[in-house]
Symmetry: C2
């Protein structure tokens, strides 16, 4: 675990250095949008996606110290932040706080929040393009589009206040959260030029760990205090959001999360010792519920 | 002119065929967002950007009948439509009609309009990625980001109702409109592997023709009827928008538009007969004001 903490800290530092360099400076005209972009991206967050990406890269024998996975991880954080800014908008989840700070449209204004989200999405593709790998751009776009993250968000919003079944919640979580997490793991492997068999197993790992991540988020939303979360606890329930605890109860949700983590770890067996960090990251995601 | 009409019609048909194939079908789950995306992209429009792209490709000796420029042109139309959907939102220009039809957030709802715009942007990058040219993706992202289209939109919104100078209006138009038009011309040339000297001259053509396009749009907004425009005529003035006629008068705006078109045409001299279609497209943009 001590090793994981050091690994995560180092990845977070390298990712944030890259973000500082890759995003336009606050003073650059027009300044307001650049301030918003930096405000949103440096609002905290565990940077779990870049950690998964670099861990997959390392597990597949990527070159130590290479800039490519860090750059790709920074792009993924931009894309993740883009989705959070738009999700928080008044016409979507209408959230005033995230990670204990006012959301972008509250700290700035709504028009700038829409455009700042757009701009983060676009810079991310520019950063990915600089890696010269069109296949990684295609992978990312597929994970984000209506067959992935955006599709999940559409169904999430359209399910609000309705009675939904487990299948629908699984669809939402798989698309809205797991698709991008799975893509992170795959991109790390792609950058290390992993063979097809490795890609298939790591995709499975990413899918399971990604779904577990969101199920655990649902559990935490129910069980934590507002202070612990940095946003309103229990807000999912109040809003009639489609969550795992809402459709199958807290006990089954926890069982399901544990099972998903086990399956994720099982998918890593072929890597042996090289899979240690990916295993620890899965464990890190799991222990949040205990 | 008859030749131009046939060329444009053929490009529009090929672009729209590509769009029909590239965008998810309406029935694909979740259906609502796919209906919005198709509603917005098939709401009309002259497809002038794909025409400029293919004309630049042809002028640079691109292979006749090649799919790449058509695919790139379709991606550009998606990006253009993404920007229109977000610009029309209540928190931005708050427009109810575009091209005589209700805007996306009026025909569907605001959340879906934000997400539908996002999704069009993302599919566009997926389509561009399928061309296997990371340089073209970088070019596109640069034209769209805060140093391009989005930057122009930020300054446009922040200038509303304020007294601005000509320099600011030029900035807005160059970034918000001309940057993407310039990119179209450049992408066409890049697909045909044009040499650096050709790129430089065509970039100039694209810049001039792009700025002229927006100046002429401003002029039309003042001089046309609502019926002719398919949106409220004179709405720029009512709203205190930064436009060319507002800062330097109608006469100077028309002189400036003519001058820009001349400069654009001059930049094509090196192409000789091969530049005929690009010249005719510049002329097509110009005659709208007569």
């Amino acid at each position: 675990m001590r090793e994981l903490t050091a690994y995560m800290k180092s990845t977070v530092d390298r990712t944030e250095d890259a973000l500082r360099q890759l995003l336009p400076r606050e003073e650059t005209y027009p300044s307001s949008i650049h301030r918003l972009m930096r405000y949103s991206i440096f609002a905290g967050g565990k940077r779990i996606r870049p950690c998964l990406l670099t861990a997959a890269y390392d597990a597949c024998g990527g070159k130590a110290g290479d800039r490519a996975p860090v750059q790709a991880g920074a792009a993924i954080e931009m894309l993740h932040t883009f989705s959070l800014i738009h999700d928080d908008l008044p016409c979507m989840d209408d959230d005033d706080f995230r990670r204990g700070k006012p959301t972008a449209h509250r700290a700035f204004n709504e028009a700038l929040a829409v455009l700042g989200g757009d701009a983060l999405c676009i810079v991310a593709f520019e950063v990915l393009a600089d890696l010269g790998r069109a296949d990684i751009i295609a992978e990312t776009a597929r994970a984000l589009g209506t067959g992935g993250m955006i599709g999940g968000q559409v169904v999430d919003i359209e399910s609000e206040g309705k009675k939904v079944d487990r299948e629908t919640v699984e669809y939402i979580h798989k698309k809205k959260t797991a698709a991008l997490i799975r893509a992170c793991v795959r991109i790390g492997a792609m950058l290390a030029n992993a063979p097809a068999e490795t890609m298939a197993r790591l995709s499975l790992y990413g899918e399971h760990v990604g779904l577990a991540f969101q199920v655990i988020d649902d559990i935490l939303d129910e069980e934590s205090t507002t202070e612990q979360l940095g946003k309103d606890a229990g807000s999912d329930r109040e809003r009639g959001k489609a969550t795992f605890p809402a459709v199958c109860g807290m006990k089954e949700s926890k069982r399901c999360a544990e099972e998903l983590i086990s399956k994720a770890v099982d998918a890593l067996a072929f890597l042996g010792e090289k899979g240690a960090m990916l295993r620890e990251l899965a464990e890190y995601i799991r222990i949040r519920i205990n």
